[in-house]
Amino acid sequence: MQKPLSPHLQIYKPQLTSILSILHRLTGLGFTVGLILTCAWLYALSKGPDAYGNFCSWLNQPFVKAIIYLILASVYYHMLNGIRYLVWSLGKGFELSSVYSSGWIICALVFVLTVLTMCFV
């Protein structure tokens, strides 16, 4: 017997709950890219000062820097929304009003954290 597929993304009428759920998966991919970058950073560190210097100068290119900020925003979002999922796993916060308010709070927090990172790092 075949398992039925999940409804495809274009079927959903855009609403906060579905968008945040889709974003959780997309930012999970961003999180994975961040982990791969961490491995590359460790590798460059282990290869000596020259390799590390080259890696750092590559990281400082504007385009790469923009991607890193995007990855950081993904990490913040995935972590904060992950907390929300963990709370749901405990059977709490399922009321529609809580789902919406926690969703907006997470969006605001991700925005603030990303802007703070861009200002100070």
């Binding site: 075949q2 998966r25 961490t38 460790l42 560190l45 282990s46 992950g82 999922y85 963990l86 790092v121």
Partner: protein
């Protein structure tokens, strides 16, 4: 048959017996999430202070046994959590069981290689220190 010894049975998806592997997947995803919730902020905080240090100072800091151990746990949990997540996406959106198993197998192989690569670099840093 439990394909690729994976936590989700791809063969008999609607079989009640597979609930065990579903539960295992669900629990492992949450355990790795909790580990990451503790270690990722720690790592980001560390990066914030490391960015201005020299290569040697960073190696001394990261090559420290405690930091290396925490980074090791973070990498393993991170890649495993990512693998479980991609597995769920494949289950949700790839209708053909053979393609689904192939994609999951490739992701699993890629993430294993990346984990080994990261851990190998980490071990080198501990030795260098």
């Amino acid at each position: 048959m439990d394909y690729l010894r994976s936590s989700i049975c791809f063969n008999c998806f609607n079989n009640v017996l597979c609930m065990k592997s579903f539960t295992r997947h669900y629990v492992l995803q949450r355990i790795t999430a909790c580990i990451l919730l503790a270690l990722v902020p720690w790592f980001l905080w560390k990066l914030f202070f490391l960015k201005d240090l020299t290569h040697l100072e960073i190696i001394k800091n990261i090559g420290n046994l405690n930091s290396a151990l925490l980074l090791f746990i973070m990498l393993i949990s991170g890649f495993y959590h990512g693998y479980l997540g991609i597995q769920t996406i494949c289950i949700d959106y790839i209708p053909n069981p053979k393609s689904r198993i192939a994609v999951v197998f490739i992701v699993r192989a890629m993430f294993s290689i990346l984990s080994v690569f990261g851990i190998f670099s980490l071990i080198q840093l501990v030795i260098l220190k």
